[in-house]
């Protein structure tokens, strides 16, 4: 299959779009991302539990933040990356792009569920309820259903290329939900609080709390990359079964 040639800065980027190039490269990268995730997670937990002080309003219940916020960020970020690869796959018809989108979905769904679960366990002691149908919580629940819908749609179509394209359209349509989640606390009057951390204003959190949260967010990021690359390699093995270059590959 011939690929269109896109050359930027004398690097042929489509070379990296071939599963044959990607497979060993991803295999070499996975241990680094996995170890980075483990080290950052250890550091984040150490800071979160042994350095960060007790919150003067919420007591120790606030320590859920070290999972909740990183999981919620990753749930949205992974979806955007998934939709990006789905879009690239639709435009350039590159197999690997679709494989990356497929590989990201279960990890994105995991973080979405974790964000909802930890939010519920945080809401009970602080708001007095496990769940409310406010805009932030509802749009995050819709995100979980978008991930499930993407996975179910792809699983329901036998022919991989058609499954890829159908999933990609769903992923791209669903991306409108991301700004809705992000801005929901501004657009509507929600029980969920507004952002404590933003790129445009100073944080309202204690520095050590923020440090613990950012370390955990980096750990979640590294873990997601490792998990997605690992799953993408399995997808390549499954789909390119019988390809010559795969016979000796580990």
């Amino acid at each position: 299959m011939s690929q269109p040639t896109l050359i930027i800065g004398s690097i042929n980027w489509f070379r990296y779009a071939s599963p044959q190039t990607f497979y060993p490269l991803a295999g070499a990268m996975i241990p680094w991302f996995a170890w980075a995730a483990a080290v950052l997670c250890g550091a984040g937990l150490a800071v979160g539990f042994f350095v960060a002080p007790t919150d003067h309003q919420q007591g120790e219940a606030y320590r859920i933040i070290f999972i909740h916020v990183p999981a919620a960020w990753m749930s949205m970020f992974i979806y955007v990356v998934m939709a990006f690869w789905a879009g690239v796959g639709l435009v350039f018809n590159t197999r690997l792009s679709h494989m990356m989108a497929t590989a990201l979905a279960p990890t994105g769904a995991l973080f979405t569920f974790v964000a909802l679960w930890t939010g519920s366990l945080w809401g009970k002691p602080t708001w007095g309820t496990w769940w409310v149908w406010d805009a932030r919580l509802t749009s995050e629940l819709i995100l979980l259903f978008l991930y499930f819908g993407f996975m179910a749609l792809q699983a329901a179509i036998d022919e991989p290329r058609r499954a890829d394209r159908a999933g990609a359209v769903l992923a791209l349509v669903g991306v409108v939900n991301i700004p809705i989640i992000y801005y929901s606390v501004k657009w509507w009057n929600t029980l969920h609080q507004g952002a404590s951390v933003s790129l445009t204003s100073a944080s309202t959190m204690a520095t050590t709390m923020l440090t613990g949260m950012l370390l955990m967010a980096l750990a979640a990021w590294m873990y997601s990359v490792a998990a997605a690359l690992h799953r993408a390699r399995s997808i390549i093995l499954e789909r390119e079964r019988g390809a010559d270059w795969l016979t000796g590959a580990r």
Partner: protein, 49 residues
């Protein structure tokens, strides 16, 4: 450090159920995903002609 003793740490100021419930389920789900990733890879490698 906020903890005077080990039991103080486990009690989480009375929020043990909520804090440890969050951490345990998250750790459990990640463990399940890692196991599933390994099984999928083993099956994919085994299926090759």
């Amino acid at each position: 450090m906020s903890w005077a003793s080990w039991s103080d740490f486990v009690a989480m100021g009375g929020y043990a159920l909520y804090v440890w419930g969050s951490y345990a389920v998250t750790a459990g789900l990640i463990a399940v995903e890692v196991v599933m990733l390994r099984i999928r890879r083993r099956n994919a490698l085994g299926d090759r002609p």
